[in-house]
């Protein structure tokens, strides 16, 4: 009889872990809170830095999960976990030989940065909204017209003590560059400004894309964080920032403000961790044993992590880590049960 | 006897127009010469220089010896056209004189002599003269054929690219191509109808007489002379405005140059002689690394001079030049290409306002005491190892040195000159001159060839000996003050443009290197050495292009199999080091490593 591993979360991390486990002859069970698989990548338009459609990654993954006949619970929320199984909100318990936490992250709620007027001004949107617009009917202002001037603000809900988000969300910088290029292609005559504190281009091809955005696509990069946004009488948005490179305040009126929202730890992590005796990092993500050989292991044997549940990660990193998780689970099962 | 026929009118009009235009041009340029230049002419007129100039005119304007040196076939083409035509005129004149005695006849009488012998029934059947004239015609025709060939396949002529021409030139060029074939046809037809002619026109004539009906020959006889006269006239009218003006410009240029006139950083009338003396032979295109390495085809000296001459010089063309001097080194006319280019940049300079560089007053960042001054240069401050090596050398020989810019100094001004901001550069020149004078140094050593060039060419430092550090080190070694240990190390040396072609310093660095190791020459060296691409003179090409130029140059140095690449310019060293796979050192570093105490 095959060992059974419950994977909490059916996003990219969960699916990839399931497939890897299956190929190792272990029976994965995915518990997904939503009504379908895919997680945060669902609804995303294109992936950085190569502009590959997100569906080109997500669909094959979901297809393979389906083809592998992985058992999935949909619309079920896990409230408690232990190394021998998980408990659903309904009270039902799914026993297992090991558990993988792949619940990912929560998007930072841009409402919390009140000064940017998200939810208050029509043309303040988040990077996620922009992806949805690109994936759907296209990008326009609320009144259906084309934006002439667009600002993209980096680090909304990242590296911000004021909202308790000390960490860098890692993927927003490159997303901002990617979206700036996409906007430039949609609106060749628009002025596009990226407001940033630091530009962190850590991945392969990222720096090259950044430079292309600057030189080829003529994106203006302003080193300074927008301090506040206000609506003008004609429904445009007046923003204020410091252009730190000239050491002077800067103000301008734009048609659209895109907030690059960061990744937050799930609110539920705290309760789950407390009850399961798991350690959390100060930023609310689950804490791994270490960053090296124990990068996917929790402090409780039999409970493993995959993907952004332990910190902000790109899709590429998440997929890679999921395979690692499966391998670690395999090793654990062999060690514990085959002795 | 009559020496007039209606068909000669185009020729006469063209010739009159041409000589008038040339005369006016010469006059205008000469009148506009600055006082200094006119004084130089007066001063040198009755000297041996004038005779030397005459000889040079023969060698260069007629025989084109220098082009022969670059490429014999190309040289032959130029020589056959220039010297052949010249002889045709001279021998033609002798021919008429032989038949008619020393009678003065109008110029068209000489040119269209074959026609007028028939009109005037002159008995002109000297086989020697006819064959000689046909031989000369054949010589010129061979030149024309080569010119055609060069258009079609310039590579065969030893050139990768042929010159692209302006409209004026196309007219003159097309006319010129037809001049001699037209003459051949006209003279052959004459021979066909009336007999006579040498081995070329005579044979062609008798063949034509055999195959073409007589009525037909009679019908095209007159038009053939009309055609010949017309293309000649057209060529003459176009000549003063086309590149063929070089024929008549090179002659005065040779004299002026022998009389010591030179172009300067500011434009002046003398420049016209240099600019219009360009025959657009295109020899300057091939050595240009912008062309060879980057495929840039619009900025080489030939195009630059063309654009400047026709007042269509764009700033980009003026600025897109490394000023490496490789073109200047091969220019058969000896035009001062880099100086001209600088002064056309200067024309579009900014007008500096009074307060500009006001911050230079009361600044002194020098240190140390000594009669020998060391000026590292701005770039050298990015290469601390060079400075440290120089200090080691100074210490080893116990030299007391005054350091002009150990803590960062004021630029020598040459970068500004290269960008055409000559007047701004003068402020740096004044500042640095004053600094050197104030510390009463007697020797000034610099490790930057750019600074060295400005110190020698643009500063007035009488009483101060200005040396490149390679010259200084060479002297220390020769005088026995500095003892160095020779080793087994194999070096290859890169000649910096400013040092080599700019200041003709090729041997000092080589002797210094040979004192400590083996030197292997790269494929292009000394006068032919490649530029590193980092040149300050070019503000158009981007970083990637600079690197491509450097990479090819570095590859040549590495192909020598050397252990270490040596150069003696901080800018070159930076360019080489980023593209080389083996250590790149300044000459001072090489020596400092080998000092025997």
């Amino acid at each position: 009889m095959a060992y059974r591993v419950v994977i909490v979360g059916g996003g990219a991390a969960g699916m990839q872990t399931a497939l890897e486990l299956k190929s190792r002859g272990i029976e994965p069970v995915i518990v997904e809170r939503d009504i379908e698989l895919g997680g945060k990548v669902r609804g995303w338009h294109k992936l950085f830095p190569t502009f590959v459609p997100a569906s080109d990654v997500l669909f094959p993954l979901a297809q393979r999960v389906k083809a592998a006949r992985v058992r999935c619970f949909y619309g079920q929320e896990v409230t408690d976990i232990a190394s021998d199984g998980v408990t659903l909100r309904s009270g039902e318990r799914i026993p297992a030989d090991a558990v993988v936490m792949a619940t990912g992250f929560t998007l930072f709620d841009a409402h919390r940065k009140q000064e940017y007027g998200y939810g208050l001004y029509d043309n303040v949107i988040t990077s996620v909204d922009l992806e949805r617009m690109m994936n759907g009917g296209g990008v326009t202002l609320a009144d259906g017209t084309k934006p002439q001037r667009i600002a993209i603000l980096h680090c909304v809900g990242s590296r911000d003590e004021k909202v308790g988000q000390r960490h860098c969300s890692k993927v927003c910088c490159i997303t901002g560059v990617k979206q700036a290029i996409e906007l430039r292609e949609m609106f060749p005559d628009a002025d596009i400004f990226n407001f940033y504190m630091d530009i962190r281009m850590f991945g392969p091809g990222y720096e090259e894309l950044y430079r292309e955005a600057q030189e080829k696509y003529n994106i203006h990069f302003v080193r300074g964080r927008i301090s506040e946004a206000a609506e003008t009488i004609d429904k445009r948005i007046q923003i204020k920032a410091e252009d730190t490179l000239t050491g002077r305040p800067l103000r301008m009126t734009i048609d659209m403000l895109v907030l690059l929202v960061g990744m937050s730890a799930n609110y539920e992590n705290e309760g789950i961790a407390q009850r399961a005796g798991l350690e959390l990092a100060p930023n609310g993500y689950f804490k791994t044993v270490d960053n090296f050989l124990g990068a996917v292991s929790s402090n409780r044997r039999g409970i493993f992590y995959a993907g952004a549940v332990t910190g902000a990660k790109s899709l590429a990193d998440t997929l890679a880590e999921a395979s690692l998780t499966a391998s670690a689970v395999d090793d654990y099962l062999k060690e514990v049960f085959n002795k | 006897m009559t020496f007039f026929a209606p068909f000669t009118i185009p020729f006469i009009a063209g010739a009159l127009f041409m000589f008038a235009a040339i005369f006016l041009k010469w006059l205008w340029w000469t009148v506009k010469l600055p006082k200094v230049d006119r004084r130089l002419i007066l001063h040198n007129f009755f000297t041996r220089n004038t005779l030397v100039a005459v000889w040079e005119v023969v060698r260069e304007s007629l025989l084109h010896i220098r082009i022969f040196r670059v490429n014999p076939l190309l040289g032959y083409m130029h020589m056959s056209l220039a010297f052949g035509w010249f002889l045709l005129i001279v021998v033609g004149w002798i021919e008429t004189s032989v038949y008619l005695g020393w009678e003065m006849i109008p110029i068209q009488g000489h040119i269209f002599f074959k026609y007028f012998t028939q009109v005037n029934n002159i008995d002109a059947h000297s086989a020697l003269l006819e064959n000689l004239m046909d031989g000369l015609l054949l010589l010129v025709l061979s030149g024309v054929a080569l010119a055609w060939f060069k258009r079609m396949a310039s590579r065969a002529m030893g050139m990768r690219r042929a010159t692209k021409h302006a409209l004026y030139d196309r007219i003159a060029l097309s006319a010129l191509w037809f001049v001699f074939p037209a003459r051949l046809v006209a003279e052959s037809l004459t021979a066909a109808i009336y007999g006579g002619g040498g081995f070329l026109t005579g044979s062609l004539g008798s063949w034509l007489g055999g195959v073409v009906p007589t009525e037909m020959l009679a019908l095209i006889y007159e038009p053939s002379w009309w055609f010949y006269s017309s293309v000649l006239g057209l060529f003459f009218v176009a000549l003063p405005f086309s590149r063929y003006m070089h024929i008549f410009t090179e002659i005065p240029l040779i004299f002026l140059r022998r009389w010591q006139l030179r172009p300067t950083l500011e434009r002046k009338s003398y420049d016209n002689f240099e600019v219009e003396a360009c025959s657009r032979c295109g020899i300057c295109i091939d050595p240009c690394q912008l062309q060879a390495d980057l495929g840039i085809h619009d900025t080489q000296s030939v195009y630059y001079l063309r654009d400047r001459r026709y007042n269509m010089l764009s700033l980009k063309v003026a600025n897109n030049c490394l000023m490496c001097g490789r073109c200047e080194a091969v220019c058969p006319v000896g035009i001062n290409l880099t100086t001209l280019r600088i002064n056309s940049r200067a024309m579009r300079r900014n007008i500096p306002h009074e307060g500009r560089y006001g911050y230079l007053t009361n600044i002194d960042r020098s240190s140390g005491v000594g009669k020998v001054g060391y000026f590292a240069g701005c770039m050298t401050s990015l290469l601390p190892a060079v400075q440290r090596s120089m200090m080691q050398i100074f210490n080893a020989v116990g030299e007391d040195v005054w350091y002009a810019d150990k803590d960062g100094g004021v630029c020598c001004g040459r970068p500004l000159m290269l960008s055409g901001e000559t007047d701004a550069a003068r402020k740096m020149v004044a500042y640095n001159t004053d600094l050197f004078r104030r510390y009463e140094i007697t020797t000034l050593v610099t490790s930057c060839p750019i600074c060295l060039r400005s110190f020698r060419d643009n500063y007035r430092l009488d009483g101060i000996e200005v040396l490149h550090h390679s010259e200084y080190i060479e002297r220390l070694i020769t005088e026995g003050r500095l003892r160095v240990a020779a080793g087994a190390e194999v070096y290859s040396y890169h000649d910096p443009c400013e040092l080599g072609r700019g200041l003709k310093i090729y041997d000092s660095p080589r002797r210094v290197i040979e004192a400590v190791g083996t030197l292997r020459e790269a494929e292009h060296n000394r006068r032919d050495a490649l530029c590193c691409g980092g040149s300050l003179a070019n503000t158009v090409i981007d970083d990637g292009k600079q690197q491509r130029i450097a990479r090819r140059m570095t590859a040549e140095l590495e192909a020598t199999g050397c252990d270490t690449i040596v150069t003696s310019c901080p800018l070159c060293q930076k360019s080489i080091a980023r593209t080389a796979t083996r250590p790149t050192l300044d000459i001072a570093e090489v020596i400092a490593q080998r000092i025997v105490s």
């Binding site: 009140q114 000064e115 939810g119 208050l120 206000a230 609506e231 003008t232 009488i233 007046q238 | -």
Partner: protein
């Protein structure tokens, strides 16, 4: 306000029994407003409020201008609190935004650095023989007015509606910086979208204008105004706000800070004199009201009783829109019925004088 987030920033406000601390600027420039506050609370709402003649300036202006040291101001604040305790009250309300900021700052400092509180207790004891008793609650008087806004609405004689058009009046509200920018939690609605004045305006029938520079400072800034060399910077801030709000054609401005009300009003005069720009209708200024004046007009008080003749910018056009009956001839009459003097007629001030003569 379109934004409901103000509800995230709430604070406890006592319903009754207030100890009233006055404002230096308002006593001098808007004496009618403080009077009106006491009248409205006592007479209209029947609330117990104690106006203590013993309390002093909080010395905040001196503190922010670097002439009063921290220890001194803490001791002064401690004295006000102990006076309140002696009078038998525990809900401290301040008429001044600067003072409100000071009280909050001092209390927070005592909280964070208990040794400063100990020291202050000692100083207070040594200097006055009093014991420090900390208040149960601290509020600004606009908080109190906000707290009772619905009671006032029920008693209202008129609403903030333009009599001629039937439309709600467009009101620019301006919140003093020290109300919530120092401690966002200390203000109703926080620092980004404070609701304290907006709540009153909405409760009384007006429309709140949300304009780009709404959050910007009026420019008073203590040293910015107090030092003449810096005054250009002070006026530039009001100028920026006025430029930003002008396209919305506000009917009046209401402020909850003594300095703001004063500067938004008086700088309009200075700007019109300096570069000829006025921001209200018909080449006049935009009237600037205190929230007590606004409340007073809603409750049917006489504008001259409210002290509105003290304004730089004429309020008559606003009174006309609201349908307030007033006696133009009584505007500059003192309590004894004699003329107290009339200001020179200028663009923003001088109703009843031919406009043509001035331009």
């Amino acid at each position: 306000m379109r934004r409901a987030s103000w509800q995230e920033y709430q604070k406890e406000i006592a319903d009754n029994k207030y100890y009233y601390a006055r404002s230096c600027i308002r006593q001098n420039f808007f004496p009618g407003s403080e009077r009106a506050f006491l009248d409205i609370l006592t007479n209209d709402l029947g609330v117990d409020i104690f106006d203590d003649p013993l309390h002093t300036s909080c010395t905040g202006i001196g503190y922010h201008s670097d002439v009063v040291p921290l220890e001194t101001i803490m001791t002064v604040v401690a004295r006000q609190f102990s006076l309140m305790a002696e009078a038998g009250y525990e809900n401290f309300i301040s008429s001044c935004i600067t003072s409100f900021g000071i009280y909050n700052e001092v209390l927070a400092t005592w909280e964070e650095f208990p040794e400063t509180e100990e020291r202050t207790r000692r100083y207070l004891r040594e200097a006055t023989g009093r014991e420090l008793v900390k208040p149960r609650s601290i509020a600004h008087t606009s908080d109190i007015m906000f707290h009772h806004r619905h009671s006032i609405a029920r008693r209202a004689k008129r609403r903030l509606v333009n009599l001629y058009t039937g439309e709600s009046l467009r009101v620019v509200e301006h919140i003093g910086c020290h109300y919530a920018k120092i401690f966002p939690k200390s203000g109703i609605g926080g620092s980004e979208f404070p609701y304290v004045l907006a709540g009153m305006i909405e409760a009384w029938g007006g429309d709140v204008v949300d304009y780009p520079e709404r959050r910007h400072c009026c420019g008073f800034g203590f040293r910015n105004y107090l030092v003449q060399a810096n005054r250009g910077s002070s006026i530039a801030n009001s100028h920026k706000k006025l430029e930003s709000m002008a396209p919305y054609k506000p009917d009046f401005i209401v402020a909850n800070c003594p300095g703001c009300a004063m500067f938004l009003d008086k700088w309009q005069y200075a700007i019109s004199e300096m570069d000829g720009t006025t921001y209200g209708a018909n080449g006049r200024g935009i009237p600037v009201l205190t929230y007590e004046e606004m409340a007073g007009l809603v409750l049917g008080y006489d504008p001259w009783e409210l002290g509105m003749q003290f304004h730089q910018v004429d309020v008559e056009p606003l009174l006309d829109k609201l349908g307030v009956e007033y006696n133009p001839d009584a505007k500059y009459l003192g309590r004894d019925g004699k003329l107290i003097g009339r200001p020179r007629a200028v663009a923003v001030n001088g109703c009843g004088v031919e406009l043509g003569l001035r331009r």
